[in-house]
Symmetry: C2
Subunit: 347 residues, 2 copies
DNA sequence: CCTCCGGATTGAAAGGTTTCACAAATCTGG
DNA sequence: CCAGATTTGTGAAACCTTTCAATCCGGAGG
């Protein structure tokens, strides 16, 4: 009963072949695929048998060509090895699964901070006529994003607040996040606090620092109670380096607490403390940012500012899907972060 | 000079429109795109101007339809939030960039351990006629993979060793990895060693444990010098739990060292030690597996078995691209892991 | 002046699916 | 047994690009 025994695959079978094998017309095969209820059970069975026999695989390119748009969403992530972004992506997957009824896939693209790679992905995605692009861009104000949106592919900016209102976006209130972190430290009795991060280069970090200053002001402390330890990036190594500089300060002016621009930095700092026998939180209290899984898993569990990562991702997808609705207006959604207090700040 | 001012985009321009606008034939536009040297500078300029004017975006679906194959690779990853896999993916990106001359993109799909999601992605990718699929499967012996490969889409299995020789694969020698880990512990004077992991359910973990036993045997120790603390998965929480069980053992039989099936478990164990005031490595030496970035960044930097993660990814892509060569034979590449010794095992 | 040549351009076919107006077959109820 | 409604099935057009054989043209060589 098998149809062929030769080893070499004939060029893969299309609907035309299926139609011929089943003795029906092309249109009927299409109906079996797309509107099974419009076709009698008997013919449907015949067609399905033929499809199995011929190992028919639907040709997505042809479908898309006809349809004009694909059923694919893509997230161009800034850094695939940062747990923060993978969690955001997980939220997107959930939303895509839920919304698409199995008919919507999410592809991930990692720009790894490289503008050229980001541009290459964007170009490919646009040519692919994807249903929409989610992106945490290297540069939130790059004109390419506007162009793409303007040419008709919906774009949602994630975890960045683009200057204008040209796209939908989701973000977290970083000023507030900085504020609650430092307010907590002040409440714990600290009044000389290190800020560790690259606030001169990254907008997010600048905002967190502004929040820190606001908390000081609210407590009646001068801005110089915030001691800047500037890093070049936000890696564990940067945290270690900052820790050494911190330890090198004379005890009279050394901060008793540190607010780190992200958890990686905080973990690096924590490691230096362990090396130098500084006790956490007794000698130095530490607050991180992001509340990645490893923050809770550290030797001294880290107090951290939690961002609703999965929620961020889910919302981004929802905004994206809403773009196709008739009278769509771009929305800027801002979430509020939350302080998670753990041992690194509690005596 | 602009062509239209109305707000609504007319359905996006195709090559036909460009040809009309430039006053040339369709074929010429195609030549400008694909074989620019075959076209005179003058006409090329005209055509390029028209493309810019009309905001022409090439339609990838139509290209693919004609070409029969796309220039996309995809990695279906088992767990997007495990740094191990994101590093493997980074290696793949490098290789794809290098090999494709900007003409090959890698998309990431996260199955998150869910067979249904994995199957959905595989179906979509096959229908998309991607150039090849890289996958760390939920179940390495699932028949679906064979079917796909058999229907003509190249498949490379990553970090798993499928039973047969039906695909190319890249993996790491887990038996050897287990062996060097435990040999190291033995050399440090330990002779009662805990093994922490889910070796009954995961092939990789089973192999690591086999290696551990082999090291014991080589040192003339009985297998019962390995104390199994079985976990349900390999998370930080599992590590914490195992740590508590370990601490609960009577001192007379309590192991003085632990070999953890991955770094997450080791980090969890380390945290419990910190809580319970067990010193590492004095009271308990710890070896992890994978050497993720956080292993080095832990409060007590972890000794760990390093897998060549990026190399794994690069090689996988190379194997995949080699599949299209004429007389291709499937290859099983196995890498050798390497022990990275840090403070968690050194007095 | 004619032929031939090579570079530039053209036109048509092909690739696999979806859609839609339409034909055929079957059923409803009078 | 018939008109009309309903259910099934058909055929052709359309989607946009690439490819390739064929045509066109100006110029070189005879």
């Amino acid at each position: 009963m098998t149809v062929q025994e030769s080893g070499a695959e004939p060029r893969s079978a299309g609907m035309k072949d299926v139609a011929a094998a089943a003795g029906v017309s092309l249109g009927t095969v299409s109906n079996v695929l797309n509107r099974p209820d419009r076709v009698s059970p008997a013919t449907r069975a015949k067609v399905e048998a033929a499809m199995a026999e011929l190992r028919f695989v639907r040709n997505e390119s042809a479908r898309q060509l006809r349809a004009g748009r694909s059923r694919v969403l893509a997230y161009v992530m800034l850094d695939g090895s940062n747990p923060f972004f993978t969690d955001v992506a997980a939220g997107m997957e959930d939303a895509a699964d839920a919304a698409g009824e199995g008919d919507l896939s999410l592809f991930l693209c990692n720009s790894a901070h490289q503008p050229s790679r980001e541009a290459a992905y964007l170009g490919r995605l646009e040519q692919q006529r994807v249903q929409g692009i989610l992106i945490t861009p290297v540069d939130p104000d790059a004109p390419l994003l506007h162009e793409i949106a303007h040419r008709g592919t919906p774009v949602v900016v994630v975890d960045r607040t683009p200057g204008g209102t040209a796209h939908c976006s989701v973000a977290v209130d970083d000023v507030y996040g900085g504020e609650i972190a430092v307010r907590h430290l002040i409440e714990q009795g600290h009044d000389r606090i290190a800020f560790i991060g690259n606030h001169t280069t990254v907008g997010q970090v600048r905002d967190r620092r502004l929040g820190a200053l606001r908390a000081l002001r609210a407590a009646g402390l001068e801005p110089d109670h915030l001691v800047d330890l500037t890093t070049t990036a936000l890696t564990v190594a940067d945290g270690r380096g900052a820790g050494e500089r911190l330890a090198g300060l004379p005890a009279s002016i050394r901060p008793t607490a540190a607010f780190c621009a992200n958890d990686l930095v905080a973990l690096g700092l924590l490691q230096t403390c362990a090396n130098l026998r500084m006790r956490v939180p007794e000698d130095l209290a530490i607050v991180g940012y992001d509340d990645i899984e490893f923050a809770a898993a550290a030797a001294v569990p880290l107090t951290s500012v939690r961002q609703p990562r999965r929620r961020l991702g889910r919302t981004a997808v929802e905004l994206l899907l809403a773009e196709s609705e008739p009278g769509h207006e771009h929305r800027q959604v801002v979430f509020t972060p939350e302080l998670v207090v753990r041992a690194s700040t509690l005596h």
